[in-house]
């Protein structure tokens, strides 16, 4: 589904109570935005600086997490670069989990090794 536009926002008023993303390539309804999951010391295995979305792939224990971010064009304006994180970088993250229970979700914030907190949207 496309971006969140007003019509869909009006039609999906039930979702509006919880931070509905205003920008995005598609609907974010597959993510449970009523829950925020915090993971400490996620080890990045891949940082995909790609369109339509950037993805962080990381490992915590035996689980591989797939975390969707915004698009490069918008993340640049948040201060991101293609090499802000790389394989091996250890980060603390907050994300909205997938509703289907699979390990992943929509990445909200990242705390970099230097302590800087940066939004993924």
């Amino acid at each position: 589904m496309r971006l969140f536009n007003s019509r869909k926002l009006v039609l999906a008023l039930g979702l509006a109570a919880i931070g509905v993303p205003a920008y995005g390539h598609h609907s974010f309804a597959m993510f449970d935005q009523t829950k925020e999951v915090t993971l400490k010391a996620l080890i990045v295995t891949r940082f995909e600086w790609t369109n339509p979305h950037v993805f962080v792939i990381g490992k915590k224990g035996s689980a591989a997490y797939t975390l969707e971010c915004s698009s490069p064009n918008l993340m640049v304006h948040q201060g991101w670069k293609h090499n802000t994180i790389t394989a091996g970088t250890k980060i603390d993250i907050v994300f909205y989990p997938l509703r289907n229970g699979k390990p992943g979700g929509m990445l909200k914030t990242v705390v970099l090794p230097n302590g800087k907190k940066i939004s993924a949207w």
């Binding site: 589904m1 971006l3 205003a22 598609h26 993805f55 064009n73």
Partner: protein
């Protein structure tokens, strides 16, 4: 110089001026709309919880029956799917171009290039790296001679300070906000700078086969500084997938 020379010279100047007045204005005489433009007012930050600005609200299309009922049913299905966490896909979620007029909705920035040598205005969309070419001072060809496409065929002329654009030849499966249309659809746009130098686009969609009246939209854009760079947008890492139930999901990494 003789008196007759002066008379001939003045007559020649008058004829030249008259010819200029009858011809299309040159690029030097028309407003400069070249540049990078973003929708104004902007959307609130993601996750801010703030509603979209009223300027982004799109009126329901004035569809005839049974299209009107079908359109509302689809919106209800979309809303229910959203609420259930199983959103329905659409073209852009599948990395397909927006097409016209959705490109002008400007999900991300638009770069407009006025090309005097080409007699063309080019619209480059950051989202999906879409390209729309608008040919100046041409007549719109017969619709059935236009090969249908995402962007159709656009012609334009300057009427004073207003760029009047006419487009036809949009593929019938390229839909603005789920709005069905016929191959006869005509899109008319009036682009102009307002008193505060915002670019205004008044859009009128005509399609007697599907619409009870003209479908009117209005978008406004703010010019970005020269330092604003359009990013590459090749849609090649598609992790949005259509699941067996028809809803949109995300492909996760193998465990």
């Amino acid at each position: 110089m003789s008196w007759s020379f002066h008379r001939r010279f003045r007559a020649c100047c008058a004829m030249t001026l008259a010819a200029c007045a009858l011809s299309a204005p040159s690029f030097a005489e028309v407003p400069n709309i070249s540049g990078v433009w973003n929708r104004f007012p902007p959307m609130p930050p993601t996750f801010s919880g703030l509603p979209d600005p009223p300027e982004w609200i799109v009126p329901d299309p004035p569809l005839k029956e049974p299209y009107k009922t079908q359109w509302h049913q689809l919106q209800e299905r979309r809303a229910a799917a959203e609420a259930a966490g199983n959103p329905l896909p659409d073209n852009s979620a599948l990395c397909k171009p927006d097409g016209t007029p959705m490109i002008m909705w400007a999900h991300y920035a638009l770069q407009i290039l006025q090309n005097p040598d080409l007699k063309q205005i080019t619209v480059l969309s950051e989202f999906m790296a879409e390209t729309r070419r608008i040919y100046l001072d041409e007549e719109l060809p017969p619709i059935d001679s236009i090969d249908p496409g995402y962007f159709g065929y656009s012609v334009a002329r300057w009427n004073g300070n207003i760029l009047e654009v006419t487009t036809a030849g949009i593929r019938e499966d390229v839909r603005f906000m789920d709005t069905p249309h016929s191959s006869e659809m005509i899109i008319k746009e009036r682009l102009f700078l307002d008193n505060d130098n915002y670019l205004v686009n008044e859009i009128e969609i005509e399609d007697p086969q599907y619409l009870t009246e003209t479908y009117k939209l209005k978008f406004m854009y703010k010019k970005e500084p020269l330092s604003y760079k359009i990013a590459e947008f090749v849609c090649d890492n598609q992790r949005s997938i259509v699941l067996p139930d028809g809803s949109l999901g995300m492909k996760v990494e193998a465990q």
